[in-house]
């Protein structure tokens, strides 16, 4: 093992190389571009034995790796924001075909208005597509998840594609220490590729054809069952990775100080770091708060969140996306799982890269806790944490400027 100093994007590229990926295809988009740039460089230098297929769009990029994967190659692509939306049809195609492959998504806001900074809207746009969807907190975890993604996706109990989410700039363009194992160690841990079927010119094989409606519905159920099975596979892979490489994250959810907590912060992505710092300060003030960091948006960690819901006085959820006309998408999943068992607040914050600092998390969490302690059961599904200079003002006051 070697400690390198890598951006989140380079960390992903190193993991892809160590996974011995054979086909890469992608179309450049900020802030993803440096992942495939690095891979192109590795291939060009002869450090990586793979084919880089250049295409004219993200739709074609995913179609290309889908083709390569169907033919038996370990394949990878990466994208972000508008690129991800542009490939959305293929996103469903790959999952419906139960084709294992891995894609990194450097989560970024969607325009218009144009914005290249972080939020989770692009990832949540893929939520229902049948992909396993993970979110990293640090560059190291982006590396670890990428390596793990191949093993999870290619497990016969799963056979679903997997997205590795890492955040625009905050991870993608920030250098940090990353522990990179050597090729031998990775080869010992990551088995050769497995997949449900392989297409070849020698055999007759029909893919993606029309089926009876009844079979269609059974195939949808099979994806749901595979998602359920993936929960155990994710935990197994996390444990075995921890045993081999020394880092275990806790499966679908990483819990910090949940054991004795009266209140829980639910959050996903790099700002979980700020949440973990916030609870240290909150605990010094006597607020017993824990952080449950969602590592996997799909499959949804139903059991873990349910267990927390039955033992705490309240849960505050931080969403970096919004389902327009409803609530934050993470909140919706939490509320369904909680089913009225505890107090809830759904905070929508940090859209378009607006900065959410430790102090902000402390402020809204404390306010929520005080309210629950005074009023008993609280249900606040939608609480917008606005950025400066709008924060702290009544909406009526800032509203005329925007709608």
């Amino acid at each position: 093992m070697t400690i390198l100093t890598l951006t989140g994007n380079y960390a992903v590229a190193y993991a892809v190389k160590l996974a011995r990926v054979k086909v890469v295809s992608a179309y450049p988009i900020t802030p993803q571009t440096t992942i495939v740039e690095k891979l192109a460089e590795m291939i060009e230098r002869g450090e990586m034995d793979a084919k880089m297929i250049r295409v004219e769009s993200e739709h074609s990029a995913l179609a290309t790796v889908y083709g390569a994967a169907s033919a038996g190659a370990r394949a990878f692509t990466a994208t972000a924001s508008h690129g991800l939306l542009y490939m959305h049809e293929m996103v469903w195609w790959v999952a419906g075909a139960r084709m294992p492959l891995v894609m990194a998504v450097v989560s970024r806001a969607i325009g218009p208005p144009w914005n290249i900074h972080v939020d989770h809207q692009d990832i949540f746009d893929q939520r229902d597509s049948g992909w396993i969807i993970s979110m990293a907190q640090e560059n190291q975890e982006a590396f670890d998840l990428t390596l793990q993604a191949f093993r999870i996706s290619e497990d016969p109990r799963v056979y679903l594609p997997m997205m590795v989410g890492l955040e625009a700039f905050i991870l993608s363009h920030t250098v940090a220490p990353v522990d990179v194992p050597d090729q031998k160690e990775v080869d010992e841990w990551l088995p050769p590729r497995r997949q449900p079927y392989v297409i070849s010119p020698e055999t007759n094989f029909v893919m993606g054809n029309i089926v009876p409606d009844e079979d269609y519905m059974m195939m949808r159920l099979s994806i749901q069952k595979a998602m359920e099975a993936a929960k155990e596979v994710i935990k197994e892979v996390d444990r075995s990775y921890g045993k081999k490489f020394g880092r275990e994250y806790g499966g679908l959810v990483e819990c910090k100080k949940c054991e004795d907590a009266d209140y829980i912060i639910i959050i996903a992505g790099s700002w979980s770091g700020e949440a973990k710092m916030a609870i240290e300060d909150l605990r010094e003030e006597g607020y017993r708060v824990g952080v449950a960091r969602i590592r996997f948006i799909r499959p949804w960690p139903e059991e873990e969140i349910s267990e927390l819901a039955s033992k705490v006085k309240g849960i505050i959820v931080f969403d970096r996306a919004v389902s327009f006309g409803s609530k934050g998408p993470l909140f919706l999943d939490v509320a369904t799982t909680v089913n009225g068992r505890t107090s809830l607040r759904g905070v929508i914050a940090g859209l378009g890269g607006t900065e959410v600092r430790k102090e902000h998390i402390i402020e809204v969490t404390k306010e929520f806790i005080n309210k629950v302690e005074e009023e008993g059961r609280v249900f606040e599904p939608e609480y917008w944490l606005l950025p400066d200079p709008y924060r702290g003002k009544p909406l009526e006051e800032v509203a005329p400027r925007w709608w």
């Binding site: 100093t5 991870l171 250098v175 700020e274």
Partner: protein, 183 residues
Amino acid sequence: MLVELRFHGRGGQGAVTAANILARAAVIEGKYAQAFPYFGAERRGAPVMAFARISDRPLEVHSQVRNPDIVVVLDPAIPQLVDVTQGIKPGGLIVLNSPGKSNIKYERVYCVNATKIAKDLGLVIGGWPVVNTAILGALIKVSTLVKVESLEKAIEEQLGEALAKTNIEAMRRAYNEVKPCER
């Protein structure tokens, strides 16, 4: 202990690379570090910023650096355009690329003529003196953030063997030449 730094430069001058090299040197010493650019569009020649954090504990923070302990200024003209002291903590320090004078209103400001060092050593790309490795030499002298050997190793890794030799020379010269600015 956590030290936060802000680098001011112009697009193309190597502020981001300087922050990256410094972070690498800290990691070589077994510390934890981060380095990142200002999260905005950057243009060659326009004022830009980069940031770094060095800590003896794993870093969980991901927000921008607002109150740096140290400010590094790669371009002598930047202080006329930008308030480089913004948010700096009391008791910190500023390292400035300048022949020796500064009118920055802050207690500890150190000057090094990084432009001259770069030009003397032929570190010029497209007519631009590349001052980032020189300024790092001055920085580690006055801040003792990392050892010279660690910075040398980081420069070698980051820039490759061919470029490293002259850049290390620039770094060492700045290390020896840096002194408090005259007012």
